[in-house]
């Protein structure tokens, strides 16, 4: 039902895509920031 | 008169100075010395109430200075508070530290400093050295119990230095005390406190 792209199903897919992207961004950004700091910490220790 | 008890001040996490103790008597002049960036100005700002997030206690006339409303302390900082587009007279007259505006008195001090200033000219037309002398004349004409001065001797000519020393002497004989910072040697013996002694690295 939702798989065909007629009607306005494209809109639903678009929103789904944006949702996943935004949630992913919110999770990846802090992860990357923390990893960066931890990497620096390791370098400093050695 | 002023008692500083275990004063510490930190920017973010780094302490500028720690556990600083100082006691000021009446009719004394205290010189605060220290290397560049050691916290001389910060210390003066702590005493004069501009920076209040210090640790420790500052007592004025045996009371916590934070509980005293408008103690008779005159502060003159590195920034002089003058507005360039106002005339000299307007600047001096409207200075909030100056309860009674005495033009004659200020004029006399200015001529002692060897500084020719027209009161009706915008203060922006004068050089930093001249502004300094105007500020010091204001200081000389205002009566206060304690004067807190940041670098009063810097960028002064020889005549100015002699004149300021004379004003200092006069102020103490009138019963006031003075705290000032300087990184130069005045060749005079003041009670001295070195901020560098209160570092903990």
């Amino acid at each position: 039902m939702i798989y065909d792209f007629n009607d306005y199903n494209f809109h639903v897919w678009l929103v789904l895509l944006i949702t996943v992207a935004l949630i992913g961004l919110n999770l990846i950004v802090p992860k990357v920031r923390l990893n960066k700091i931890n990497k620096l910490k390791k370098i400093e220790k050695n | 008169m002023l008692k500083v008890d275990n004063l510490s001040y930190a920017y973010t996490d780094k302490y500028l100075f720690e556990n600083l103790n100082l006691s000021l008597d009446i009719k004394t002049i205290t010189k605060v010395s220290g290397s560049n960036g050691s916290g001389k100005t910060t210390f003066l700002k702590n005493i004069s109430g501009i920076l209040q997030d210090y640790e420790g206690e500052i007592l004025y006339l045996n009371k916590n200075i934070k509980d005293i409303s408008s103690p008779n302390i005159f502060y003159a900082g590195h920034k002089n508070g003058f507005k360039d587009n106002l005339t000299v007279a307007e600047n001096l007259k409207n200075d909030l530290r100056n309860p009674v505006f005495d033009l004659e008195k200020i004029k006399n001090f200015l001529s002692d400093f060897g500084c020719k200033v027209s009161f009706s000219t915008s203060i922006g037309n004068y050089s930093e050295g001249q502004k300094k002398k105007i500020l010091l004349s204001l200081f000389a004409s205002v009566k206060a119990d304690l004067y807190v001065l940041d670098e009063p001797f810097s960028s002064l000519d020889d005549k100015g230095i002699d004149c300021l020393n004379e004003i200092f002497r006069q102020k103490t004989s009138e019963g006031s005390s003075i705290v000032f910072t300087s990184h130069e040697n005045q060749g005079k013996s003041f009670q001295e406190i070195n901020i560098d002694d209160f570092k903990n690295d």
Binding site: I2, N9, H11, P30, K31 | -
Partner: protein, 248 residues
């Protein structure tokens, strides 16, 4: 009673300690991640792919499973930030400042999601991407508030005072948001816009409602997760030179 209060008090003190928070959040993050992934996938997959088609709107109504949770979350985040702002101003608790700083971008992104999903939904149902209706306008204002809070951080060099400044702004914003909402409502009735109501689905069937509730729950969990992660990163950034962090 007294003991419960004491427990609460020690918990509050622990919350204020960044090493404790860093450690505990490190332990809880995997569980929260698992739970939020579970709820989010179940809610959205059920909603988008398996729930029945709305007989009025057709399949496009399925945007509700992203839009409504995002809108709900975006407001709740501002409320929690307000509470943190009060704590930060009264007790000067530094973790409250870290909380506000970490949550503001998350709040902004979910408000953005609510706005954009609303407008994508509006295009087929109202025939236009945007209408100046009361709810959309106040969500837009909320988004601007988040952006202002985030940009205020950049104008401070000292972390400590940045936290306080942002707390002040958050509080003033919180006091004003109801006024703004109310006035936008008046303005709306005055100008009589197109009479389309968003949530006129008063007779929403259970098959549609369950995935929505699960999805809302999933959104809250994912906010919790990204909040925890952002706070950890912020703690690490601020306390890089502290002994406890070096030895962690």
């Amino acid at each position: 009673m007294n003991r419960a209060f004491n427990n609460l008090k020690t918990f509050y003190h622990k919350l204020g300690s960044s090493p404790w928070f860093y450690r505990i959040s490190g332990i809880t993050i995997p569980y929260v991640a698992l739970l939020s992934f579970l709820f989010l996938t179940i809610g959205i997959v059920w909603g988008v792919f398996f729930s029945p088609t709305d007989f009025k709107q057709g399949d496009v109504y399925r945007i509700i499973y992203m839009h409504v949770p995002a809108a709900s979350v975006s407001q709740s985040i501002y409320y929690t930030m307000t509470v943190a702002a009060v704590v930060s101003m009264i007790w000067r608790m530094k973790m409250a400042g870290i909380f506000i700083k970490s949550m503001a971008p998350i709040g902004a992104s979910f408000t953005f999601l609510a706005l954009i999903s609303g407008s994508i939904w509006g295009q087929p149902t109202w025939g236009t991407w945007w209408i100046w209706d009361a709810r959309l306008t106040s969500t837009l204002v909320l988004f601007i508030f988040y952006v202002a809070i985030i940009s205020l951080y950049s104008s401070f060099s000292e972390k400590k005072s940045a936290d306080q400044a942002v707390s002040i702004l958050t509080l003033v914003g919180a006091v004003n948001l109801p006024i703004i909402k109310k006035s936008v409502d008046w303005w709306n009735t005055l100008h009589q816009p197109a009479s389309i109501k968003f949530t006129e689905s008063s007779s929403i069937s259970p098959e549609m409602l369950y995935p929505l509730i699960i999805s809302i729950f999933g959104f809250y969990l994912v906010v919790l997760l990204s909040g925890l992660m952002a706070m950890r990163a912020e703690i690490a950034k601020r306390e890089t030179n502290k002994e406890w962090f070096k030895n962690y």
